[in-house]
C-alpha cells in the first residue's frame, strides 16, 4: 500500500533487483520452511558416528640389536598391513556379527575397512580407531582389532625366534663337531711333525714347542715385556718403546715376506733379493732405534750371562733364529728348511682353521643365547614387542557431531534454494510494483503515486 509520495531517485541495479526479489518473500518463506522441514527429517534419521580408540606401544625387544631396517616407518607399515588385512577384518566381522545387511562379505569387509583408522604417533606408539553408529560397537571392534593384532604379532615373533633357535642349535652341533675334527687333525699333525713349528734341527731340548716366525716375534715381545734383565727404572718412556715396537713390527713383517718369497722363489729372483735387503734394513733400523732408546743391541751372550737363566737363553735363541731366517740360503743346500717351513705353514693353516671354527662356534653360542632370550621375552605379554598401552573405551559423545553438520548444511541449502527461487520468481515476474519498477521496466517517469481506488466499488470499476 502506497501511503506516501516517494521522490524519484535512481536506484542501483543491484538494489533494484534485490528489492524485486524481496517482494516474493512469501514464496521465499514457503520454500525455506519446506527446506527446514526436510532438513529436520534428515537430521532426525541421521545416525551419529562414535569413535573408539586404542593406543599400542611398540618395543624393540632384540637385545643389543642395532638393526637399522626396523625403523619406525617400517614398523608402522607392517603393523598397518597386519591390521588392515582382509583375514583379520573377516574374523572380527564374524566374531562381532557386523554388517548383517550386506550379503557379500567382501563388500562388507570393504565397508568396514573404510572405518578403520591407524596412525603412528611418535614412533613408538600407534593409534587404532574405528567409527560406528553405536558406542558399544566401536569399542568392541577396537578391542578385538588391537587384541588380535598383538596376539598375531607375538605369535609371529615367537615362531621366528623358535625357528632361529632351532637353526642355531643345529648349526652349533655341526660346528662343534667340526671343531673337534679340526682339533684332532691338528693334534695328529703335531704328533707326526713335532718340529713343525720349530727351526731347530736336532737341537737341544727346549722347554716348550718351538715358535714359528710369528711365534718367535710374540715370544720376543713377551720376554721383553716381562723385563728380561732390565729393571723398571732402566725402561725408557712409553713413546720410545712404541717406536721400538713399531720398528720391530716392521722387521717382523719384512722377515715374514722374506720367508714367503724364499719358499716360492729362487735365490736369484729379484723379488727375493729385494726382500732380503728389506729385512736387513729393518733389522738395522731396529738396532739403531734400540741404541737410540738406550736399550742397546740385544746381544745374546753377554745379556744372557748377566740375566742368567733360561730367559736370556730363550731370547738369544730367538735372535739366532731370526738371524738365520734373514740370511740367504746358500745354493745347493739341502731342502730341510723348506720342509720345515712347509710343515710350519701346514700347521699354521690347521691352526687357523681351528681358530675360525672356534670363533664361529662362539658366535653361534652367542646368537643362540639371544634367540632364546627373544623367545622368552615374546612369550611374556608384559614385555613383548607390542603391548596395549591405552585400551579402547566406550565413547560418550558422538565423533564430530554429524547431525549438527547435516543440520547446518541443510539450513544453508534451504536458504540458498529459497533465495534462488525468489530471485527466479522476481526475474520472471515483470509486473510493476513501485516507482522503480515503472521507471525501470517502462522507461517513463512516474508523475504520481496514487493509493488504489476505494475498495467498495472496486469490483464495479470497469477501467
Amino acid at each position: 500500500m502506497i501511503d506516501r509520495e516517494e521522490e524519484s531517485r535512481p536506484v542501483p541495479p543491484a538494489l533494484y533487483l534485490a528489492r524485486r526479489a524481496a517482494r516474493h518473500y512469501g514464496l521465499f518463506l514457503i520454500v525455506l520452511a519446506a527446506g527446514l522441514v526436510g532438513t529436520a527429517a534428515v537430521v532426525r534419521f541421521t545416525d551419529q558416528v562414535y569413535r573408539s580408540e586404542a593406543v599400542i606401544l611398540y618395543r624393540n625387544t632384540r637385545a643389543g640389536s642395532t638393526d637399522s631396517s626396523d625403523t619406525s616407518r617400517r614398523v608402522a607399515t607392517r603393523l598397518q598391513d597386519m591390521l588392515m588385512s582382509r583375514e583379520r577384518i573377516h574374523r572380527v566381522m564374524k566374531d562381532l556379527s557386523l554388517y548383517p545387511e550386506i550379503k557379500n562379505r567382501d563388500e562388507a569387509a570393504d565397508e568396514m575397512h573404510k572405518k578403520i583408522g591407524f596412525r603412528a604417533r611418535d614412533g613408538s606408539t600407534f593409534l587404532v580407531w574405528y567409527d560406528a553408529h553405536l558406542p558399544a560397537t566401536a569399542q568392541a571392534v577396537v578391542q578385538k582389532l588391537s587384541a588380535t593384532l598383538i596376539e598375531d604379532n607375538t605369535r609371529l615373533r615367537v615362531a621366528e625366534a623358535d625357528e632361529t633357535r632351532r637353526f642355531l642349535d643345529q648349526e652349533r652341533v655341526r660346528v662343534g663337531q667340526e671343531v673337534k675334527v679340526k682339533e684332532t687333525a691338528l693334534t695328529s699333525f703335531l704328533r707326526s711333525h713335532p718340529d713343525a713349528i720349530s727351526g731347530r734341527s736336532g737341537g737341544g731340548e727346549s722347554a716348550g714347542p718351538p715358535p714359528g716366525l710369528e711365534q718367535i716375534q710374540r715370544e720376543m715381545e713377551r720376554l721383553r715385556s716381562s723385563g728380561g734383565g732390565a729393571s723398571a727404572v732402566d725402561r725408557p718412556d712409553p713413546e720410545v718403546m712404541a717406536t721400538v715396537r713399531r720398528a720391530e713390527s716392521d722387521y717382523g713383517t719384512a722377515l715374514k715376506d722374506l720367508d714367503d718369497k724364499s719358499q716360492r722363489l729362487t735365490d736369484a729372483h729379484p723379488d727375493l733379493i729385494t726382500a732380503r735387503a728389506r729385512a736387513r734394513q729393518a733389522e738395522l733400523n731396529v738396532q739403531r732405534i734400540r741404541e737410540a732408546a738406550g736399550l742397546g743391541r740385544p746381544s745374546p751372550a753377554p745379556k744372557a750371562a748377566e740375566a742368567g737363566g733360561q730367559h736370556s737363553e730363550q731370547v738369544a735363541a730367538i735372535q739366532r733364529e731370526l738371524a738365520r731366517l734373514s740370511r740367504p740360503r746358500p745354493s745347493g743346500s739341502p731342502r730341510m728348511t723348506r720342509q720345515q717351513l712347509e710343515a710350519s705353514v701346514n700347521f699354521e693353516s690347521l691352526r687357523r682353521d681351528l681358530e675360525q671354527s672356534r670363533a664361529r662356534l662362539a658366535s653361534l653360542e652367542d646368537k643362540q643365547f639371544q634367540a632364546g632370550l627373544t623367545a622368552k621375552i615374546e612369550t611374556n605379554s608384559e614385555i613383548g614387542q607390542l603391548a596395549l598401552l591405552d585400551p579402547a573405551t566406550r565413547p560418550g559423545l558422538p565423533f564430530q557431531n554429524v547431525r549438527k553438520k547435516v543440520a547446518i548444511a541443510g539450513v544453508l541449502a534451504s536458504l540458498l534454494i529459497a533465495l534462488a527461487v525468489a530471485a527466479l520468481r522476481a526475474r520472471s515476474d515483470d509486473r510493476i510494483h513501485d516507482r522503480a519498477d515503472a521507471e525501470w521496466l517502462g522507461g517513463k517517469p512516474v508523475l504520481v503515486l496514487l493509493p488504489p481506488p476505494p475498495r467498495e466499488r472496486r469490483r464495479s470499476a470497469n477501467v
Binding site: H433, V446, L447, P452, A461, N462
Partner: protein, 254 residues
C-alpha cells in the same frame, strides 16, 4: 424539426472562447461565430461513486495526490488536452481521468471538459450517475456533426462544479467502431472552447482507438496499477503510441 438531443429544459449556451475569423465569399472581413456549446446541467447523484474521491473526500490523501498530479502536469509544459490511457484493461484510467479533471476544475479558473473516449467500455456516465436520456451521447453527437458540422456541442455540467462532461451512453452498441477523424475534429473544436480537455481513453494494447485519436491530443498520461500492470506491456504501449508525447505514469498502489 429534428428531435432535440437533450430533452431536458435547462440549456446554456457557452460562447466559444476563440473567435476565428472566417471570411465567406459574400462578406469579406466579417468574422463568423463557431458553434456554441450547449451545457445541460444535471444534479450530482446523492450517492456519489466512491472513485470520485475529489468529490467524496476532497480532504483525503487521494485528493491530495491528484492535486499534486495537477501541479506536476502544469510544470511539464502544461498540456491542455490530455488523453488518459493505459497498457491494458482495469488499470485505473477512468479513476485518474475523472479525478484529474475534477482537480483542475476545482480551481474554478478553467473550463474543463471530460470526454469519454472508451467506446467499448464507456464508464463516465456510470461514474457520474447519468442514465440514458439524461445526457447527450458523444457518439450520437459525432454522427449528428457529420451532417451538421456547425451544430453546437451538447455537454453536461454536474452540480456546481466547473467540470463539463461529454459521455457515451451506457446502452451504446459496443461493437461500434470509433470514428477517429470525426472524434479528432470534435476534440479540435472543443479545445477552442475549453481550457482543458481530459479524455478517458481506451487501453493502448486493446485496440486502435488510441492510435486513431492520439494525434489530436496534446499528450498522453498513462495509468498503471501496481501488482497488475506488466512492465513489458507498458513498454510496448509506449512504443505503440510513439512519437506522441507521453507525459509519464500515474501509478496506482497494489
Amino acid at each position: 424539426m429534428s428531435r432535440p438531443l437533450v430533452p431536458t429544459a435547462e440549456l446554456v449556451t457557452v460562447p466559444s472562447r476563440a473567435v476565428v475569423p472566417l471570411f465567406d465569399s459574400g462578406h469579406a472581413g466579417v468574422p463568423a461565430r463557431l458553434p456554441d456549446i450547449i451545457v445541460n446541467r444535471h444534479p450530482l447523484p446523492h450517492a456519489l461513486h466512491p472513485d470520485l474521491v475529489m468529490l467524496t473526500r476532497p480532504d483525503g490523501p487521494r485528493a491530495a495526490r491528484f492535486r499534486a498530479l495537477r501541479h506536476r502536469l502544469a510544470e511539464r509544459r502544461d498540456p491542455r488536452c490530455i488523453l488518459v490511457t493505459s497498457a491494458g484493461a482495469r488499470e485505473g484510467k477512468t479513476f485518474v481521468a475523472t479525478n484529474l479533471a475534477l482537480a483542475i476544475a476545482e480551481l474554478h479558473r478553467y473550463r474543463v471538459l471530460l470526454v469519454d473516449g472508451h467506446l467499448r467500455r464507456p464508464e463516465l456516465a456510470r461514474r457520474f450517475g447519468l442514465e440514458r436520456g439524461q445526457h447527450a451521447c458523444l457518439l450520437s453527437q459525432l454522427e449528428h456533426h457529420r451532417e451538421y458540422p456547425d451544430a453546437p456541442w451538447r455537454v453536461t455540467a454536474l452540480g456546481r462544479c466547473d467540470l463539463h462532461l461529454l459521455a457515451i451512453a451506457l446502452s451504446t452498441d459496443r461493437s461500434r467502431v470509433l470514428d477517429g477523424p470525426a472524434f479528432a475534429l470534435a476534440i479540435e473544436r472543443l479545445r477552442q472552447t475549453y481550457d482543458y480537455v481530459i479524455i478517458d481513453g481506451a487501453p493502448v494494447l486493446d485496440g486502435p482507438e488510441v492510435n486513431l485519436i492520439e494525434d489530436s491530443v496534446g499528450a498522453l498520461l498513462f495509468a498503471a496499477r501496481g501488482g497488475h500492470t506488466s512492465g513489458r506491456q507498458l513498454k510496448t504501449a509506449f512504443e505503440q503510441v510513439s512519437p506522441t508525447d507521453v507525459l509519464g505514469v500515474a501509478l496506482l498502489g497494489e
